[in-house]
């Protein structure tokens, strides 16, 4: 994609005070709809928690996981959440290092999504355990050779790094909120007070902050690539047909950027509408962001072709069984729907500029995101019905996998959980960085003593 170096847009020139008030205003907005939304999420989470409690007591027999599909919806959720979480590193780190400045107003949205998603990725893994109380056995007694141990390490590390990378550029904004949000509830003011860590905007503070951010956006890259590559290796290093594929690492990473970019487009649309940020999340941002979606989709398409054409050409017996089911058999409708509605059609549509406007692109992004989830379901589940050794003496219903209500309820709760985390973050912090926005518009007023 090509970038315009300056992201000023149709909104014209605003003063710093206008920008600040525009971006702080949503934090005062505790509207009825907001309340409804939060309570709805809480209800879903509570219902999911009840279902999970039941699963905890009765065991994983409540799920549809059986001898064949020992991994089910929870694991495909896990892969999905890890995928979505990578967007933080793509937008905040890669685009920043490539000096794509148009993405600056979007970076915080991507970091919030990343934090919500990676938290739910961790939760999904624990949910999938029959004995979650034994989770500490992984670091304590784990085999360092096992990708599970690597994954445990990188997921937790990425969680910490995501939180830090969200927090660091927030510090100057929190200082503004600390000074401006004097009418906020006490707990909220306390948060601002503590998290602003006495930010005064001195030259030395700016130097330290910029250095910290620079270090973190470089550090997040290897960790982000590791987290999804290791997640893919959980599958790829087994000998299972459909998983034992050398391309899985980059294939998952490419797919992650697709899912995350789509999530960002949806979030941009919602925030723009609900928080009235038309002047900050402009058509230009949607245009550029959707070009990024096309780019990630094209790369993902390239990896898809490689992933399916190479074994498809040779058609080894078990590969053939698996691919026949997927491409022409039982899974084919879902597979082609995902590939066409979630990948090919969005690529074609988004090549046209009108489709990159907020509303149409949000609808397309929804298809892409849902397709991304189904794709992970298709990678995790059907593969398991072609084991290399036959499984014997199992009832007929073991030979297919349909998630139970328990699994669906718990999964919906993780979705609600991620949305709640994002919602609460948006409740308390400005969704577009105030100081960066001002800076990008050529206003240096708030950079008190910056050189």
């Amino acid at each position: 994609m090509s970038a315009t170096p300056n992201s000023t847009s149709e909104s014209g020139n605003k003063t710093y005070e206008q920008i600040r008030e525009d971006l702080i205003r949503p934090l005062h907005n505790n509207s009825f709809w907001n309340q409804v939304w939060i309570r709805f999420l809480i209800i879903v989470i509570v219902l999911g928690a009840v279902a999970y409690g039941h699963q905890l007591i009765k065991g994983l027999g409540l799920t549809a996981m059986r001898d064949y599909s020992a991994w089910g919806m929870y694991i495909s959720n896990f892969v999905f959440w890890v995928a979505v979480s990578l967007i933080g590193s793509l937008i905040s780190a890669i685009l920043k290092l490539l000096t794509q400045n148009w993405a600056n107003p979007i970076s915080r949205i991507s970091e919030m999504i990343a934090l919500g998603a990676i938290t739910m990725a961790g939760a999904s893994i624990v949910i999938d355990m029959g004995r979650p109380d034994r989770v500490l056995n992984i670091p304590l007694h784990g085999r360092i050779q096992s990708p599970i141990v690597w994954d445990f390490f990188v997921v937790n590390t990425y969680l910490v790094i995501s939180a830090i990378l969200l927090y660091l550029p927030l510090i100057p904004d929190i200082a503004i909120l600390r000074d401006r949000m004097t009418k906020a509830p006490k707990w909220q003011r306390k948060i601002y007070e503590v998290l602003s860590i006495g930010w005064q905007g001195t030259q030395e503070q700016w130097r330290l902050l910029k250095k910290s951010i620079r270090i973190m956006i470089i550090l997040i890259l290897p960790v982000a690539f590791s987290i999804h590559t290791v997640t893919s290796w959980l599958f790829a290093v087994t000998l299972r047909t459909g998983w034992h594929s050398t391309i899985f690492g980059p294939y998952f990473v490419a797919g992650a950027f697709v899912a995350g970019s789509a999530a960002v487009v949806i979030a941009m649309y919602v925030f723009r509408k609900r928080l009235k940020l038309q002047d900050y999340l402009t058509d230009h941002h949607f245009n550029m962001m959707n070009k990024l979606v096309v780019l990630t989709l094209l790369i993902y398409l390239y990896f898809n072709i490689n992933e399916y054409l190479v074994p498809g050409y040779s058609w080894k017996r078990l590969d053939g069984d698996h691919l026949q089911e997927l491409l022409m058999g039982h899974e084919a409708p879902l597979f082609w729907m995902t590939q066409i509605l979630g990948m090919v059609l969005p690529i074609i549509l988004l090549l046209f500029k009108p489709m990159r406007k907020p509303l149409p692109s949000m609808v397309i992004a929804l298809f892409v995101l849902i397709g991304a989830w189904i794709k992970r379901f298709l990678i995790v589940i059907p593969t398991q019905f072609h084991p290399q050794f036959p499984i014997q003496n199992v009832p007929e219903h073991f030979t297919h996998y349909i998630p139970t209500y328990t699994e669906i309820a718990v999964s919906l709760a993780t979705l609600a959980g991620a949305l709640l985390i994002i919602t609460m973050l948006v409740r308390v912090f400005p969704v577009v960085p105030i100081w960066e926005e001002a800076h990008d518009r050529g206003i240096h007023k708030i950079f008190k003593a910056e050189k």
């Binding site: 409540l62 059986r66 590390t157 860590i197 006495g198 270090i215 009832p395």
Partner: protein, 305 residues
């Protein structure tokens, strides 16, 4: 306010939908153990098949194939999923006809077995009845089984001999006894006898030993023969013999350290993982230190303001 009421009812709808989902989910689970009334006309059907040895053996093999997975080997409902106990007072108090009706119907996770001929189902019912009999009810005979190996030029033959042991310790060849012969493999016993191997009049079965079974690095195999007969106590013998193909000790598969425990961890992996993990966290701590410095700087500057 109309809008709000509308909205509220929307939330309640979604909420109750979810609640209903969960309820159905839990109830659907509990349902398996709910009472299962049988029509009277079905209960009074009589079992026409005598519970003789043939019927019990046929019933056992069908049970193993179709029922064991859920109801467990001994019928205690302790199979792969939670299923009804077939040895419970509650179950055994039914008539054979009632059980047949249930087998025909199926319910929840229990499939219908209507497709199978009734006489086979009666065999299963006879077998299931026998499960609840306490061991002391049946007087079991004792037997010993022994293995003989016979290697001709091109062919290996194996003989398993079953002898019944009388109360006075005499051994006599036992005819018509089913013997399972197999080779011990990593994940169980690989059967080499057919399912209809019954001993001849001299108590023996002969098996042509297949040439393509892989042994250890010396070609050694463990052969296991066991008596599988309802009238006999279990008897079993195992012998080692070098009739397998030689599986050369493969240095690299022996040393496939990635699959082994931490004692075998390859140095390069230990170093990469540890160095990688430590350096990432050192950088994170360094940034934490920088943040601390920002705070100190702020406190200083705040004072001087």
């Amino acid at each position: 306010m109309v809008k709000m009421n509308h909205m509220k009812s929307g939330i309640f709808k979604i909420g109750s939908l979810l609640a209903a989902f969960l309820f159905v989910s839990f109830f659907g689970f509990a349902q398996d153990f709910a009472p299962w009334p049988v029509p009277d006309e079905a209960s009074v059907v009589k079992n026409p098949v005598e519970a003789n040895k043939t019927s019990l053996e046929a019933g056992k093999s069908l049970y193993t194939l179709q029922c064991k997975a859920c109801h467990g080997e001994t019928g205690r409902g302790d199979g792969l999923i939670k299923a009804a106990s077939l040895v419970s007072e509650n179950f055994q108090s039914q008539t054979d006809g009632a059980i047949l009706w249930k087998l025909h119907q199926g319910r929840g996770q229990m499939p219908s077995f209507k497709a199978l001929p009734d006489d086979q189902l009666w065999n299963v019912i006879n077998y299931v009845r026998s499960l609840s009999k306490k061991p002391e009810d049946i007087i079991m005979k004792n037997a010993v089984v022994s293995l003989f190996f016979n290697e001709k030029a091109e062919q290996k033959e194996l003989t398993a001999k079953v002898e019944q042991v009388n109360d006075n310790g005499e051994k006599l060849p036992a005819q018509g006894i089913k013997v399972n012969v197999g080779v011990q493999k990593y994940f169980g016993i690989l059967p080499i006898s057919s399912t209809s191997n019954y001993t001849s009049e001299n108590g023996e079965i002969n098996i042509v030993f297949p040439n393509n079974i892989i042994g250890d690095e010396n070609g050694e195999l463990t052969i296991i023969a066991s008596v599988d007969d309802m009238e006999f106590n279990p008897a079993r013998v195992s012998e080692n013999i070098s009739w397998g193909q030689i599986n050369p000790k493969d240095y690299w598969s022996e040393r496939r350290a990635l699959w082994k425990n931490n004692d075998y961890i390859p140095l390069w992996l230990l170093i990469s993982f540890t160095v990688g993990a430590i350096s990432v966290w050192l950088v994170i701590m360094y940034v934490a230190l920088l943040v601390r410095k920002i705070k100190i700087e702020g406190d200083k500057s705040g004072l001087s303001d």
